[in-house]
Amino acid sequence: MINPFLFWAVALLTVPPALSLLFAKKAVHIAMSIVLVMVGLATAYVGLDAPFLGVVQIVVYTGAVMMLFVFVLMLVGVDQREDLTETIKGQRWIALFAAGGLGIFLISIVARVTLPVSSSPVTGDPDVIAGVLFSKYVLVMEVLGALLITAAIGALVMTHMPQLRPRHTQKEISASRVKVGADPVNRPMPGYYARHNALDIPALDPQGNPIPDSVSRVLEVRDQTQDGSEFRAQLEDAAGPSLASPPASAPDSAVDTSKPDSSEGKGE
């Protein structure tokens, strides 16, 4: 006989989290709930004289399977919210009746039978399990090993991404860049000529004009850049007026040529 407290604890630990499968919106929440269910089941196994299986349950399900689920969830996007409105007509009713009917039917069957509980339970210790596993069920064991290997290779094959386009070498990339007339060299780092070390400040060309491409586009979009005007004033103070009026043509052209392919350059 088992402790009723154990049973109710397990029931409370498994059924409410399991219901999250039906009602929770976020997949990560569901996954964590199922982890709870698995732990609850492991508890139940231990209580049912199957300590080895309880440990395996923890290791395999909570440790491996559910973590794999969470990992995959992260791959496909953790914050995917699911719309719970049903799209297939009548599916929800069918699900309700089929699943509910199945549950009720199973319970009614179990209620109708009376099984004499063995008075001398065998505790499923690892040595006991191993004895059965490697004698009576050794062939099944071998087959399952083969199955696991097959599954592993299958998963590798399934997730392997084939190379669809030829890989570009750096030489090819620069050659293509010259071909379209873009800037052949790397763009300057932000703040390269500035006395300021921040990423949000464009570099200055030799004439002292700011180079917008030197700043990350993300910052530009977020409107978090700063122009170099205040630093320029400091620069003028230090170096004298010769820098204040640069020849207009050269920096303009430099800025203009770098602009059209800026996005391409960043993409690389």
Binding site: V15, L21, L22, L41, I107, L115, S119, L148
Partner: protein, 99 residues
């Protein structure tokens, strides 16, 4: 308390899992429903093992776990492959089998 109580619990969990498979559109969630059903079966196996005083039920549950592990590996690989091609893991998306 009679270990048969755990069989009731297994039946309830199994029904919940099957309902999840039928109603959830997210493939990963549906997959978790499958896992829940497998675990419910495991619970029933272990309970019967306890009731009969034999260890065979536990071995069966162990086998189920192994098979489930293999199934999870392959199933998740499939989900990833589908996600790569469709940018979606909705079960309603691949309706190419429509007659």
């Amino acid at each position: 308390m009679d270990p048969i109580s755990f069989v009731y619990l297994a039946a309830i969990l199994f029904a919940i899992g099957s309902a999840a498979v039928l109603t959830r559109r997210n493939a990963i969630v549906a997959f978790m429903g499958v896992e829940l059903m497998l675990n419910a079966a495991n619970l029933a196996l272990v309970s019967f093992s306890r009731i009969h005083g034999e260890v065979d039920g536990q071995v069966m549950a162990f086998f189920v776990m192994v098979v489930a592990a293999a199934e999870v590996v392959v199933g998740l690989a499939i989900i990833i492959a589908v996600f790569r091609t469709r940018q979606s893991i909705s079960l309603d998306e691949p309706a190419e089998l429509r007659g």
